[in-house]
Every structure is written in C-alpha cells, then in structure tokens.
Amino acid sequence: MNFALNLLSVATISVGSVFFLAGTLGLLRFPDALSRLHTLTKADNVGLGLVVIGLLPLAHGVLGGLKLVVVWVLVQLSGATVAQLIAQSIRRNGPSA
C-alpha cells in the first residue's frame, strides 16, 4: 500500500514537473504576451495541481491535505483573473501596453 502510494506520488510529481517545463518552454518560444499568458496560467497551474496530488499522501492528515488543495484553488483563481486582466489591458492599449 505504501509502495503503491509512493509510486503514485513519484509518477504525478514527475508529470507535473514536465508540465512546468512545457510552460517555461512556451514562455520562451511564444511570440507575444497574449500567447505567453496561456502557458503561464494554464500549463503551470496543471503542473501545480499534479504536484499537489502527488503530495497529498505525504500530507499531515486530512486537514493538511485540504490545505494543499486550497492552495491550488487559490493559485487557480488568481491565475485566471490575472490572465483576464492582462489580456484586457493589452487589448485596450495595443501590444505595447
């Protein structure tokens, strides 16, 4: 049981790290700010979600696991909002905002 949980953690955290790498690659390669917003707020959030799932078996009890999920929800919320706000600012003022 413990071995299976450890394997699950290792697997999900590895995939999460790959998503972070993908997000950074997107940051480096995408041509303008609007597309870079996508990689930052989507790929990195999925990476964080997978890392949180992988850390749930290692958390301090149910409350600790709940706090990890709350962290992910907060980052998700702020990512979505910031993406909308930056995109609106760019749309209003042209690409040189």
């Binding site: 450890n6 953690s9 290792v10 955290i13 590895s14 999460g16 790290s17 972070f20 790498l21 997000g23 950074t24 940051l27 480096l28 700010a33 870079r36 917003l37 930052l40 707020t41 990195d44 959030n45 990476g47 964080l48 890392v51 949180v52 850390l55 290692l58 958390a59 301090h60 600790g64 706090k67 990890l68 709350v70 962290v71 907060l74 980052v75 919320l77 702020s78 990512g79 909002t81 910031v82 706000l85 930056i86 609106q88 600012s89 760019i90 209003r92 003022n93 690409p95 040189s96 905002a97």
Partner: protein, 92 residues
Amino acid sequence: MTDFLLAAAVFILFTVAIGLVRILYGPYDADRAMAAQLFGSGGIATLLLVASATRAPGVEDVAMGLALLAAFASVAFVNTIATAEHDGVSGE
C-alpha cells in the same frame, strides 16, 4: 523519496528561474506583470516539495499565505499598468 522530492524541487526551481529571466526581460510592462503569477505557481510548487522533503513544520499555512500574497501582488501589478494607461502615462 526525499531525494526525489528535492530533485523535483530543483527542477521546478530551474524552470521558474528561466521563466523569470524571460519575463523580466520581456520588453513591455504587461510582460513583467506576469512575474508574480509565475511565482504563485512555480515558487509554491517548489516550496511544497522542499517542505515535504525537509519536514519543516507548518509549511502548508505558509503556502496558503504565499498563494494569497502572490495573488495580491499580481493584481496590484496589473492594476498599476491598467491605471497608468488610463491616466495617459505610457509604460516603459
């Protein structure tokens, strides 16, 4: 397990570092406003991995606080560039 968690933390920190360099270089203010969000996701992932590996106490609360403050900082940055444009002052 601990070694794996630390290795994952180093890897994610590395990606955050590269992303940070790219964001801070990005020629317009709208690009730079994304830096706090990058920390909100990558920095918190690193924090959670390091804390789980080194068994530092009470770090889930720190992660919640950090998530809130990164959100606050991101919104403050974006609000600044939005109101700067609105007041007719051009960003660098």
